[in-house]
């Protein structure tokens, strides 16, 4: 128990302040919240790809189950109706991100968030590769508005957000209109000079960078920052470490997923989008370019919520003799099916539990490795589709692979593995002293 007490002290004195810094640092929060806000749009794109290839395609797994193409012979013609959803979602994600990051920065610095976001979007295209003229018509490449432009979007959003917020507060740069002027006009004139300064500044910076690096700022940042970070993220060691860190923080009362969100998105966002684009082009997840993404954690290591607590609940029903454990198990199973685990995290509790902490961290790591081995060995395709995190566990693997039944089976195998690993720890926890948590019978003020 000495080690656990020491680690609890370390968590309280060191980890919490660090996590608090990460969760409140305005740049990290701006990035994290930008990805959270844009998630419904990217999810819509993912679901449309799933619809197109699972339902509307003649060989789609849902179409085959329901015999849809016998009922509706021309169903595949509808694919062209829904495909443009991708053009308005994942294919232009960088545009959403630059707007949202600049906006979020302005919110935290108490500046005009809408105009900050618009300025960010404007600057994104100021530094964009120029138009190409073909037969009298101007064309803009789409290479950098999607996944590949993410880092430029983040950097531009952060810089514009900071500059705009600082410059817009300078009284010397404000144009104040009389009260009789409509609010929208007054609002836009107030920040006119800061916007002009920022746009001209970035135009000059862009010209200087293009003079030194002919591929332009996008090409430079993609090669120097985004690609190395993507390589760092899309390998199994990084994935396992990130999962362990997230669950370790969780079990010490710190919100693990929130704390690592910005890092996780920076490492995995492009890979996720490239996989989805692959499916959109080829109609299958087989051969998707990035086998290792955070989606492996969601598909195989997060059933019941962080720590694969669905396995814990099943282990409780199998071996737990304590009535309070069984009662909490019954209360927790319904939300657990949808990956919500507050009842069991605080009910058993799992948090600060020196016995259950071990499988809580170990089980997801084991299952991530199982999922990884299955993908790289060619047993199942990469998890290319985004699926809502509240989807019951094995279904995430099934839908994420585009309807692969072996992935579904593997999900149940991972659930069985997690239950087996939790079993001895549940038996040990059953025997542990209930007063380890300082349960008091009286209502007096007592410190733990």
């Amino acid at each position: 128990m000495g080690f656990m007490a020491a680690f609890e002290k370390f968590a309280e004195k060191t980890l919490v302040p660090v996590a608090a810094k990460l969760n409140s640092q305005r740049h990290i929060v701006a990035i994290r919240d930008a990805f959270i806000l844009s998630f419904p749009i990217t999810l819509a794109g993912s679901l449309i790809v799933l619809l197109n290839f699972a339902v509307l395609a003649p060989d789609g797994f849902i179409a085959k189950i329901l015999f849809l193409h016998k009922l509706f012979p021309n169903l595949a013609d509808l694919q062209s109706v829904f495909s443009p959803v991708l053009n308005g979602s994942v294919n232009i994600l960088s545009m959403f991100i630059v707007f949202l990051v600049a906006r979020n920065m302005a919110i935290s610095l108490k500046a005009d968030e809408l105009l900050s976001g618009l300025t960010g979007l404007s600057v994104f295209f100021i530094i964009y590769p120029p138009y190409t003229n073909v037969d009298g018509a101007n064309f803009l490449t789409t290479q950098w508005v999607g996944a590949q432009g993410l880092f430029v979007a983040l950097i531009v959003g952060l810089l514009v957000g900071e500059l705009f917020s600082k410059l817009s507060k300078s009284k010397r740069l404000q144009i104040n209109m009389p009260d009789s002027v409509p609010p929208a006009v007054s609002r836009s004139f107030k920040v006119l000079f800061p916007i002009i300064i920022i746009t001209v500044l970035f135009a000059i910076v862009n010209a200087l960078i293009n003079a030194i690096y002919p591929d332009g700022l996008h090409g430079f940042i993609y090669a120097a920052i985004q690609t190395p970070l993507k390589s760092l993220g899309t390998n199994i060691v990084s994935l396992v470490i990130l999962a362990i860190v997230s669950n370790l923080l969780w079990v010490f009362g710190i919100h693990g997923p929130n704390t690592i969100a910005a890092i996780r998105e920076a490492m995995f966002a492009e890979a996720n989008l490239e996989n989805l684009n692959f499916v959109a082009e080829h109609g299958t997840a087989w051969g998707a370019p990035y086998p290792v993404t955070w989606a492996i954690n969601d598909a195989f290591a997060n059933y019941g919520g962080s720590g694969m607590t669905l396995g814990l609940l099943i282990a409780i029903f199998i071996v737990a003799k304590r009535q309070d454990y069984r009662d909490i198990g019954k209360l927790s199973i319904a939300p657990g099916i949808f990956n919500i685990n507050e009842p069991v995290i605080f009910g058993l509790p799992v948090v600060l539990n020196p016995i259950l902490i071990v499988p809580f961290i170990l089980v997801p790591a084991i299952n991530i490795i199982i999922g990884y081995v299955a993908i790289v060995s060619g047993l199942i395709p990469p998890i290319a589709y985004s699926v809502p995190w509240t989807t019951p566990g094995p279904l995430i693997a099934f839908l994420g692979t585009g309807g692969n039944y072996i992935a579904l089976l593997l999900g149940f195998v991972c659930l069985a593995v997690s239950t087996l690993v939790y079993l001895p720890f549940v038996i040990a926890a059953n025997k542990a002293n209930a007063v380890a948590y300082g349960e008091q019978k009286s209502d007096s003020d007592v410190s733990a």
């Binding site: 919490v16 969760n23 409140s24 969780w250 009362g253 919100h255 300082g438 008091q440 009286s442 410190s447």
Partner: protein, 79 residues
């Protein structure tokens, strides 16, 4: 004035205690009634309704210096 008991569950309960011990603002004032390693019972004095008081307590801690990093759960406890 309404009096509620709100149960706080959090793995870092000392931060909850430090924040809410004799906390007061325009809407609520709180004191700790009972505490153990992951649980705190707050007595909340407020003019807000129970649902609003619960939301407010959750929000005010979520926006605090350390609350933004912590995983916690609040629920209204019947006296």
């Amino acid at each position: 004035m309404n009096h509620y008991t709100i149960q706080f569950l959090c793995g870092q309960i000392n931060y909850v205690r430090a924040f809410f011990e004799n906390y007061q603002d325009d809407y609520i004032s709180t004191r700790i009634k009972a505490i153990n390693k992951i649980k705190a019972n707050l007595i909340v004095d407020t003019t807000l309704s129970p649902d609003l008081a619960l939301c407010y307590v959750e929000k005010v801690f979520q926006q605090s210096k350390y609350g933004c990093a912590l995983h916690f759960n609040v629920s209204m406890k019947s006296d």
